[in-house]
Symmetry: C2
């Protein structure tokens, strides 16, 4: 960020160019940070009440709540940064329950010495992502830890949304015969972060797929698609997402490898690093489980929506899992063989989100 | 924690005695952590749905939302630990808006190598504190950062509560003439944490005042006390809490130094370390602004309540602040002089919560 942009972002320039311990101390410096950085970006009615908690008016019925910590390294990557990621990730977790995202809470753990302009830039991304999705950041908190006891910036975002009546989108709703769809090609986020971490240029213009998915889910619901379950394949990628749903829904799932969309640059980088794209994180894709008879309509809706760049029918729910074991996922390969798509022990790429 | 207690807490013992990067990777080790540590402690209906977000049924009307990161060092201190602190702190922030705390979300950022038994112990404290207050932990998240990039454990808790109709407890509701009350003696939490950090024994049996305050607020509301504003004096202590309300409510406040309750051990430790108890954090005390004619009744309710060990009327709201400056707080000393009780730059004791 240029000096001038920084000055514009901080109309009354902060006294310090780096984050100090006192910025998290609850005193004058905390207040400066709130008034000069957070309020100009996030300031809505609830935040302006300047209280320990925000009070908002919710309709009667069900609300959804989700929380996620973000520790991605580095903070800035092609196609986004930790701020955009934190907002989109939480919006997406809400959207995966069928909820309309409404209110967000944001908590920062900053490392002493973080350049203030990095914080201002991240806060700007959060503001933009929240505005684009029509959600309000209503409350927040900042703590500062001493140098060497953190890693620049961790962000925890918590979201609350409103669940329309009649919707039961969850692993338990998955049924044998359901079609399994994805909204786009897989693994861009993981490879984009890896590329900047490793200083790669080979991936060319590859950017993270980081994006909000609430609009896409609304479009599917508006088209009366009877969605049984949704999941965004973040940490652990598609393989983890499918395994979780198989286990929690008590079903077996079969995926057709040839049908899974993977961008060429992602496939190339995966080959180079010995990664399997089915295990690489996305931050702007969803997997949908819908009744077979709604599959074609779902794909039509996705094709017409900008948040679904490469919709595909990738598999089927086979049937209830053998009660003697947990639900599992098999992959039918291009040459017709079938293998277990196991849940990984961890993430191939640590600190990807 | 003894080996046996650890085994009891983890019926199917975790394969690893310390936290691994893969515990935050979204794969099998993440799942183990959820199933063997988090679910047994927190498992309610919403958490059991095993989805990206929790869905709960809320009554129509207003909801309150609050978030706080906890980075206290050390993790365990006399009278509590980071887990109890994180639950009580969030419950208290909700209670300060007049809301009934209902649902919590918990996000961990763990440092690789953290002893698993420390995590289990903290999770047990969270479970106990949540149960005692009747709130449900409905969703959560765990990230792991590499060794040296965190400090054992950071916890972010976000709470949602329900605000009864007719309640407007916020800084803007404070009125000239309001009585200023505190529920107990100040500074125990800060001094308890400092004592263990510095290896002090002089403070004897001094424990943190860390405790939930929602019951006390309910009791005041049940007695028809017309509460204008509440604040728990955490970071920056009473002085910061009063200054915030003076500034945000646009009023001047006068405090009577002799009326402010401070425990002898706290006063002694403050003298030793050159600290002012009015700036030392509490985690189980509240400041209440009530109409003067409700002051006596408020004190009666507090005296009858276990969460208010030393209720006191400590001051008065003087009047609207001079429009040319922000609201301010003055302290009338024991010898009758008056001085400005300024907002500190930061916290005298970093990482106290």
């Amino acid at each position: 960020m240029k000096e001038r942009d920084f000055e514009l972002a901080c109309p009354a320039p902060l006294r310090h160019r780096t984050v100090q311990l006192a910025h998290g101390g609850g005193g004058r410096l905390s207040r400066e940070l709130i008034e000069q950085v957070f309020m100009p970006a996030f300031g809505g009615a609830a935040l302006s009440a300047r209280h320990d908690g925000a009070v908002v008016r919710a309709p009667s019925g069900r609300i959804a709540m989700t929380t996620d910590g973000y520790v991605v390294r580095p903070l800035f990557f092609p196609g986004g940064d930790i701020g955009k990621l934190a907002i989109c990730g939480t919006i997406n977790d809400l959207a995966m329950t069928g909820a309309t995202p409404r209110w967000l809470a944001v908590a920062f753990v900053l490392e002493e010495g973080l350049p203030m302009e990095d914080l201002v830039r991240v806060v700007g991304s959060m503001r933009d992502a929240a505005r684009a999705a029509g959600v309000e950041i209503v409350t927040g908190d900042t703590k500062v830890v001493d140098r060497g006891k953190g890693d620049k910036m961790f962000v925890t975002t918590t979201g609350v949304g409103v669940v329309p009546e009649g919707i039961e989108i969850e692993p338990r709703s998955v049924r044998p015969g359901d079609a399994v769809l994805v909204s786009g090609d897989l693994g861009r986020h993981g490879i984009a972060v890896l590329s900047v971490r490793e200083g790669l240029t080979l991936t060319g213009a590859l950017e993270s797929d980081c994006a909000p998915l609430d609009g896409l889910v609304s479009a599917l619901l508006a088209a009366n698609v009877g969605i049984h379950c949704l999941r965004d394949p973040t940490r652990g990628g598609l393989a983890s997402a499918l395994n979780e749903i198989a286990m929690d829904g008590g079903v077996d799932i079969e995926i057709d490898e040839a049908a899974v969309p993977v961008n060429e640059a992602v496939a190339g980088a995966c080959e180079l690093f010995g990664l399997d794209p089915l295990y690489v994180a996305c931050e702007g894709r969803l997997v949908a489980f819908v009744p077979q008879e709604h599959a074609a309509r779902s794909l039509d809706v996705m094709r017409a929506h900008p948040a679904a760049p490469a919709p595909a029918l990738i598999g089927t729910v086979l049937g209830p899992a053998d009660p003697a074991r947990r639900g599992r996922v098999t992959l039918r390969s291009r040459i017709g063989t079938s293998r277990l798509l196991d849940i990984p022990a961890g993430e191939q790429l640590p600190r990807i989100c």
